[in-house]
Symmetry: C2
Subunit: 468 residues, 2 copies
């Protein structure tokens, strides 16, 4: 057990918190989304929260932590929903929310610190030169840009730009390594993959350089269909229209919109309406309306036509994981999955699964660009009954050619990559030789022999110490 | 024969030219690109050039022409290369180059008159608010926006935005009809298809509203490969990278670049190098360079690295029909084709045709987005020997699943659409009842029974009067 009293002393001059209630608060994220993670991680907590305000303070904190063998788990806003930011071995929570300076804005790019709240960043770049991030998670109002890069994948805007995985969607990351004498590395090009979506296991991001796109006064639109598959086909056709500049296309099956999109409910005719949540450039509205008419869709809501948007949330806060959140808040028996429907027959695959599960798994898709092709990712809701049934639902998806990125797992591998990312592992061996960064999240590090095909859930041995 | 002396009188106050040499000059476009059109259209000329400077003057000109039964052929800059702007029945050349006012620039859109030169338009919108057209023909420095909409299809930027045919890529067109009392119509949505790419047969465009994209200081890059098919595969892979903001991707087979890209030749190693002509956003250069390295390409030229661009043409003036022009200028025995290689196996199709024809048909592709999928269009050069061999080359392409948009035909239908566009025809019946607008370009109007499958070249009867 590291000597936290000594650590605290050596960190003098840097903001440190050790009040257990406050530390516990900063040790949690949206893991409770998953009934499975909720049971596994409920007791997880760190020992200290350290809140650096500069790269120097980050370097010093890591130097001290390394010397004492103390685990360090970075944290942005804690909106991750797989326990990404939870310290499975306790130790230091490195709270980066205070590093929130914007350093430069140029045509097509911005340089800033990791703790900037994404919506704030967009506000500043828009005011500066009519620019904004290419895409953002639906948590833009609360999440940090560093947390998005380290823990997220894509979001609002991915219909045009793809995701964080795509070369060019992150330009540069500056990271501090976890060594006796921490190094500061500027990573670009392919090297970025060592650190992005690594849950902070591969260095602390202290500066990011991101590409920007033009900012428009995006119009929120809801288009209604009486049949969910009609809404899906419309979404697919819309996403294929090169000339209509879109930021978001997400069909959500009835009765979810009527039951849980409380502020938009007055615009729906009845509980049977499935809804496509859309964000589109204002100068595309005329041709878009012509397209909807041709597709026999019903425009239920246009943010450019309502008297006031007061009290009405942004359309993107009905989409991505906010769809799940809205249902969960009212009915805690809901959980969800993350599904890939490989193109080109993604629409047929969705149809098949809708047919199999009906209202047990109400559909929610996000249309995205994936290697330049239009695809859809699914975030279907699941009316949860038992862990066994959830596993069965997953298996049936996979049997129908639709891989699952399991949101009920806290490791990098089980959540998506399925096999170890060798680049990330090799980098970790060099830059975090003691394995102190966010322990337990990279199976390849802890247990290279773990058998992913055995159908077992990986349980980090360190968790036992937390009394789980 | 209309009474042109009387017409001239009735047009008093509007600029009219009847000097035969000057009229002849304004009766020609780049039809001579095609040895076939060159023979057919050499003697075509109009009777008067009328140069209105306002919509009122256009309306008055059409009113007078209608009353006298005089044909009217609109003209922008005359850079079309299928004789689109050539008056097959003589009559009035309506020169719109003087209607060149920019009326308003807003976020995402611009309103202007049809005669604005495209490069001037981009310059103004960039200076105003860092914006530019989504795409432009490679003739941007000379062509008008109205001529592009009425006679063109796509170009530099189509890799991201698709073409003029795509809903949303033209927002509004204002047109004057050819009736006793000309109407002024504002067309939007699907109605735009009545007038865009109609060669001016369906009304005179007097105002356009076009969407804008962000303007960047695009970097010109040439990437070299020793094998053309490697260059094609690289281009295809590059075009699939969502995160790299591209404006142009065009592989050109050796020895064309070395032989005809005179100013860029010093950057090429030898005559065997095929070259990919690329325009890419400056903030994409780092990830792009990482991508080229991974793809084992050789960056031969970067406009952001040369000491001076003086005397070096824009990369886009190596692409689209400028590739053809550069070869033609040196060796007039060249001509070209326009080929579609339907995706998803477009690369294999290109490979097959390269194998069949070798250096008789040096490859030149333009990668574009087509219904949201990456495809390539071909503008291969052809070492012309005879009309019979050209027809054979066309047939072999079609036998291999690659439709040809024949650039050796002056009609709308033979050049591309193959079957009559009913919408355009119905609209013409209403708004040009005498068929006076650009006669001879719409087969459906002149000869509804023309058999496209008979393999015959449609010859406009009116041409006989020209002594052809
Ligand atoms: C309602 C809801 C909607 C969501 N929608 C989306 C969505 O649309 N798209 C999407 O991709 N995700 C989404 N998420 C998940 C989440 O990834 C995003 O909300 C956000 O990207 C996380 O940012 P954060 O600042 O809260 O990061 P945190 O949760 O604090 O951290 C995320 C991960 O990054 C690490 N980390 C944080 N900062 C750093 C740093 N400076 N250096 C190194 N590592 C660091 C943490 O250790 C953790 O592993 C959603 C979650 C919720 C609850
Ligand atoms: C070297 C070269 C490169 C080229 N590259 C491209 C390219 O990249 N992409 C592409 O699409 N095309 C290309 N073209 C073809 C040509 O379409 C474009 O150069 C341009 O769009 C034509 O504009 P213009 O002003 O010269 O039109 P013109 O040639 O004057 O006219 C074109 C057609 O539009 C009609 N027209 C003109 N003005 C009006 C109006 N106001 N109202 C109604 N009808 C009107 C004319 O009657 C004619 O039928 C190329 C041609 C050349 C020679």
């Amino acid at each position: 057990m590291p000597d936290y009293a000594a650590i605290k002393k050596e960190l003098e001059g840097i903001a440190v918190e050790d009040n257990p209630a406050l530390v516990r608060q900063k040790s949690r994220d949206f893991f409770w989304y998953s009934p499975i993670l909720k049971a596994q991680l409920e007791n997880v907590t760190g020992d200290l929260v350290v809140s650096p305000t500069s790269e120097e303070e980050v370097i010093h904190t890591l130097r001290v932590a390394y010397a004492h063998g103390a685990p360090v788990t970075p944290r942005g806003a804690g909106t991750g929903n797989y326990g990404q930011a939870m310290p499975l071995s306790g130790g230091i929570i490195l709270n980066l929310a205070g590093m929130d300076k914007i350093k430069s804005i140029q045509p097509g790019k911005v340089v800033c610190e990791p703790g900037v709240i994404i919506a704030q960043l967009d506000k500043q770049t828009k005011a500066h030169s009519g620019q904004e991030l290419r895409f953002h998670p639906s948590t833009a109002q609360t999440a940090t840009i560093g947390g998005f890069i380290a823990g997220g994948s894509g979001g609002v805007g991915s219909i045009t730009w793809g995701g964080l995985r795509d070369l060019g969607n992150i330009l540069r990351l500056r990271v501090v390594t976890m060594e006796a004498e921490p190094q500061v590395l500027d990573l670009t090009g392919w090297d970025l993959q060592k650190v992005s979506h690594a849950y902070g296991t591969n260095g602390i991001i202290t500066e990011v350089e991101m590409p920007l796109a033009p900012a428009y006064d995006w119009v929120d639109v809801l288009v209604g269909y009486d049949d969910f598959m009609d809404a899906v086909r419309f979404s697919d056709a819309l996403s294929h229209m090169n000339g209509l500049l879109l930021k978001e296309v997400a069909p959500v099956a009835a009765p979810i919109p009527y039951d849980y999109f409380t502020r938009h409910k007055p615009y729906l005719r009845d509980r049977g309406q499935s809804v496509v949540v859309i964000m589109i450039a204002p100068h595309a509205m005329d041709p878009f309306a012509a397209f909807v008419a041709q597709q026999k869709g019903e425009i239920l809501f246009r943010s450019d036509m309502v008297e006031s948007m007061k009290g009405i949330p942004h359309a993107y806060e009905l989409a991505w994981n906010h769809t799940t959140l809205r249902a969960l808040k009212v009915d805690p028996t809901f959980t969800y999955l993350q599904v890939q429907y490989p193109s080109p027959d993604h629409v047929a695959k969705v149809g098949k699964l809708v047919e199999i599960f009906g209202d047990e798994v109400p559909g929610h898709l996000e249309f995205i660009r994936f290697d330049a092709a239009i695809q859809c990712a699914g975030l279907p809701l699941v009316r949860y009954t038992s862990e066994a049934r959830l596993e069965e639902i997953i298996r049936i998806h996979e049997d129908n050619g639709c891989p699952i990125f399991n949101p009920h797992r806290y490791t990098l591998e089980e959540g998506g990559m399925k096999q170890t990312d060798r680049t990330q592992l090799a980098f970790k061996q060099q830059t975090d030789p003691k394995g102190l960064l966010n322990p337990g999240k990279m199976i390849a590090w802890d247990n290279p022999d773990f058998d992913f095909n055995a159908g077992k859930n990986y349980l980090f041995p360190g968790l036992a110490a937390m009394g789980v």
